[in-house]
């Protein structure tokens, strides 16, 4: 933010330390770790299942970026909305979409959260107001603006969190959407996950101005860069920004500086970056560093970690079993839901 931390922070949580990090207590730390582990293990399993041909299409893994989704989701309430990208398994899990329904969606099974219609890139869930899963870079931003417009017009004190990557910043829809949201003071939380690469194109090779928060500030909205590898920093920034948005101050922008440890998709030889660069970033693995942080303070950390890992492994196993046991949507339903059902039709085209 332009006037960072100090003023906004008091509105959010009382216990910020001098480094502006949250100390929200033991239980909350474990919750954050648990959520990050769920995403990491879920996606590792996805990679395995993809190699085995169980998951098809494109698979974009979030591994390395877990702190962003997990930290940011802490700022959202039940009634808020989420618009995400095609690298959205982490957001979906952190938002509360059950792992089993998400895994069934990865398989394309009828029991998936999008009925198997969307797959990895198109996760939808009405229950948690999760509006996709959008595989067009930048395509979700206008939708987020519209969701926020509806809330504002209906005087609902809700926030729409819109995740997108650094690649989207080059799209016209990014600029149109930030402008319109700022112009109309709409309650959108723009959450940019800057992992340095738009697929294989590094930020400097695509942007004349690589300070992404500066772009957002040019539309007169508060904007700040945040360490996206630090889940507590992410949560703190997201809470501050969301609170301001919720107060009706208009949209806010956060740039989370993060890194994906995996290739862009499974079929990517990573010709565009050095392994040494990946290794440097892996030193800042959000899960590993958070565990170290816990161990510094917590004597029983190993035991707790063991229990967490066990619980996550069980959850993933059950999710895979659920997906395996899932059914294929009948081909007769192929045309269903192209249109809404009308009298005498089931919505088929």
């Amino acid at each position: 933010m332009n006037e960072p931390a100090a003023t906004a922070a008091t509105d959010v949580r009382p216990n910020l330390d001098a480094t502006n990090r949250l100390h929200v207590g033991h239980d909350h730390d474990l919750l954050l770790l648990h959520e990050m582990l769920r995403i990491r293990r879920f996606e590792e399993k996805c990679a395995e299942l993809y190699s085995a041909g169980k998951i098809r299409g494109f698979l974009h893994l979030y591994i390395g970026e877990e702190a962003v989704a997990v930290g940011a989701m802490q700022a959202l309430g039940r009634d808020d909305a989420v618009v995400a990208t095609y690298r959205e398994h982490g957001h979906a899990l952190a938002r509360g979409i059950p792992a089993d329904r998400l895994m069934a969606e990865m398989y394309g099974k009828h029991e998936g959260c999008s009925r198997g219609r969307g797959g990895s890139m198109h996760v939808f869930d009405a229950h948690t107001r999760f509006y996709g899963g959008n595989a067009i870079v930048g395509g979700g931003l206008p939708i987020a603006v519209g969701l926020a417009l509806a809330d504002k017009m209906q005087q609902k004190p809700r926030v729409t969190a819109c995740f997108f990557g650094d690649g989207a910043v080059a799209e016209g829809e990014f600029h149109e959407s930030l402008n319109l949201a700022a112009l109309w003071k709409l309650p959108v939380l723009f959450l940019c996950e800057n992992n340095l690469y738009a697929m294989g194109t590094r930020l400097e090779r695509a942007q004349s101005q690589t300070d992404l928060a500066a772009k957002a500030r040019s539309y007169l909205m508060p904007a700040e860069p945040v360490d996206g590898m630090d889940v507590l920093a992410v949560e703190a920034a997201a809470r501050r920004a969301a609170a301001a948005v919720r107060r009706g101050e208009g949209p806010a922008f956060l740039e989370f500086r993060t890194y994906r440890f995996r290739a862009h998709s499974m079929f990517d030889a990573e010709l565009y970056r050095d392994k040494s660069e990946v290794e440097v970033w892996k030193q800042r693995d959000p899960i590993a560093t958070f565990i170290s942080h816990l161990k510094e303070r917590e004597e029983t950390a190993d035991a707790i970690l063991g229990a967490l890992n066990g619980s996550v492994a069980d959850e993933i196993d059950v999710a895979v079993q659920f997906a395996e046991a899932g059914t294929w949507e009948p081909v007769d339903d192929l045309l269903k839901d192209v249109y809404s059902p009308r009298p005498g039709s089931d919505g088929a085209a």
């Binding site: 909305a81 998936g112 959260c113 999008s114 009925r115 198997g116 219609r117 969307g118 198109h122 939808f124 869930d125 009405a126 509006y131 996709g132 899963g133 959008n134 067009i136 395509g139 931003l141 206008p142 939708i143 987020a144 603006v145 519209g146 969701l147 926020a148 417009l149 509806a150 809330d151 017009m153 209906q154 729409t160 016209g172 829809e173 149109e176 959407s177 402008n179 319109l180 112009l183 109309w184 269903k336 839901d337 192209v338 249109y339 809404s340 919505g347 085209a349």
Partner: protein, 330 residues
């Protein structure tokens, strides 16, 4: 019998907008210059004063984002009406219309639907040259997940909007720009009309002239000329371009056995081609002559009047085509 009053297509559209804004607080209008300017075709003139800037929203020139915002607002519980100045400008919002509006219901397994109405001007005839005069509604009719309608009469200009707003899915309304000034009588109690069915605007037995939107008038004019020659043409106004009312089209073909399609879009890969294909699929053995099409010449629509006229479907060409399929030469 209701009292009739003289009105214009533009006024009928405006009356429909007003009615919707009054009846449903979730309805709002947004687009470029719909407010203070009064709408580029003056359809929304006066609405800002009546309904205020919350519900009559001037947008920046950001077609993709304000159409996308319409999608989001519809998802968020509103009933947005988005106005795009012309179909040519709608191409800047093609991503939102095709990749989001048309797909989200199906892609989300039926969890989300998008009750969005998008209105736009289409067509040529006012010397606006090649970036303001195309008829691309046929492109949109290609896309499953959206509905396409084209009001060609005062009744439809008055009545299609409300029905479109009540539809749970995105509806695109194409208003031919030469129709805005069309004047005629409209019943005082005119109201919502169905948007599912084609209408027979003139009943006849010798051939079926199939058209919609801006070319309906020219086609009816051609039918009168043909009538003086003893050729009794039926004129079908499609009204809905997606879905096509094939039962109505086939019923007419089974009666007349001859077809001429009049469509201001180009022939190649077009709506007219689709209609012909479906007739051949479903009514081949009812055809007594090759079907014909009168479409725009395959050029970007030119500016000078004589060239624009030459590029567009005209009554004389419709008459000539009708004579040919009926087997009489003029």
């Amino acid at each position: 019998m209701a009292k009739m009053a003289t009105t214009t297509y533009r006024e009928a559209l405006r009356t429909a907008l007003k009615e919707a804004l009054v009846k449903d607080p979730r309805v709002f209008l947004m687009g470029e210059d719909v407010g203070q300017y009064g709408g580029s075709y003056a359809v929304s003139k006066g609405l800002l004063a009546e309904f205020g800037p919350e519900r009559i929203r001037d947008t920046p020139l950001s077609e993709s984002t304000f159409v996308g915002a319409g999608i989001g607002a519809a998802l968020g519980g509103m009933r947005p009406i988005v106005e795009l100045m012309t179909v040519n400008f709608s191409l800047l919002a093609l991503d939102q219309i095709v990749n989001n509006a048309a797909t989200i219901r199906h892609m989300s397994g039926g969890q989300f639907n998008i009750p969005l109405v998008i209105r736009m001007a289409t067509g040529a005839g006012r010397q606006l040259a090649a970036q303001h005069a195309h008829s691309l509604e046929g492109w949109y009719a290609h896309i499953p997940g959206i509905r396409i309608v084209a009001p060609a009469t005062l009744e439809d200009a008055r009545g299609m909007l409300w029905t479109a707003l009540e539809d749970p899915d995105p509806v695109l309304i194409f208003e031919h720009q030469t129709l805005y000034n069309m004047e005629g009588p409209l019943a005082d109690d005119a109201g919502p009309v169905d948007i599912d069915h084609a209408a027979i605007r003139r009943s006849g037995k010798d051939l079926s002239l199939i058209t919609y939107g801006g070319t309906l008038g020219k086609t009816l004019q051609a039918a009168e000329t043909l009538a003086r020659e003893g050729i009794d043409a039926e004129v079908i106004d499609l009204r809905s371009l997606r879905p096509l009312d094939m039962p109505a089209i086939l019923e007419s073909v089974k009666k007349t056995h001859r077809v001429v399609i009049v469509d201001e879009g180009w022939k190649s890969g077009s709506l007219s081609a689709e209609i012909i294909a479906r007739i051949v699929e479903s009514a081949f053995y009812d055809l007594d002559a090759p079907m014909a099409r009168i479409c725009s010449a395959e050029v970007p629509i030119p500016y000078p009047k004589h060239l624009e006229d030459a590029a567009l479907p005209q009554p004389a060409a419709i008459v000539a085509a009708a004579r040919e399929v009926v087997g009489r030469r003029g």
